[in-house]
Point group: C2
Chain length 112, copies 2
């Protein structure tokens, strides 16, 4: 019974297509997402791997997370350090003219 919940991990809520597109529209964020596809990682390590400053990475991660492409949680390592692990969510969007029409409709509804 306890497995029921765990089995649902991986099923992402699918936020708007537009937010996903905006989130991935920057080379750095595209690289971050790609790196995270290799597996989960914590912020400082990720910053080293991608050779970018932590504050900057922090900003980009926030954008990715807001779009629902990434999720993160704090963990305490063996030596007691608080570490934020980030994972890529298994998103899936179909980018077609029809999807664009739907996304644009969403945008208009937002202006109400």
């Amino acid at each position: 019974m306890a497995l029921t919940t765990d089995a649902r991990i991986g099923v992402s809520p699918q936020v708007g297509l537009f937010e996903a597109i905006v989130a991935l529209s920057h080379p750095q964020r595209m690289r971050i997402a790609a790196k995270l596809a290799e597996g989960r990682n914590y912020v400082s390590q990720l910053a080293r791997d991608l050779q970018m400053s932590r504050p900057l990475l922090h900003l980009h991660l926030a954008r990715l997370e807001a779009a629902g492409l990434v999720r993160s949680e704090m963990e305490v390592s063996d030596d007691g350090k608080a570490m934020r692990y980030v994972v890529l969510t298994p998103f899936s969007f179909h980018l077609t003219p029809d999807a664009v029409v739907a996304a644009a409709r969403e945008l208009n509804n937002r202006d109400d």
Copy 2:
């Protein structure tokens, strides 16, 4: 036999996913693409429909066209006016972690 060529209309070359994403990452361009999904249109009319200035629309159309999401051609109307008609290409991208990895690899190759 002459149909062979015409039958190929609609098969787009599929430019990079990243360029497509960047092109659609702006609300205005998303709306432009959505409007063009209704059918082809010429620039001035499109500007009126979307209530944006022609110079601005011109800029956005250039970006959409560079990404391969849109194509355009000049035509001469019955009353002799040169009009630029724009059409949305039938693009199709699958936006997943794997696609992101591929797109990021593309980005890195570009820096060589």
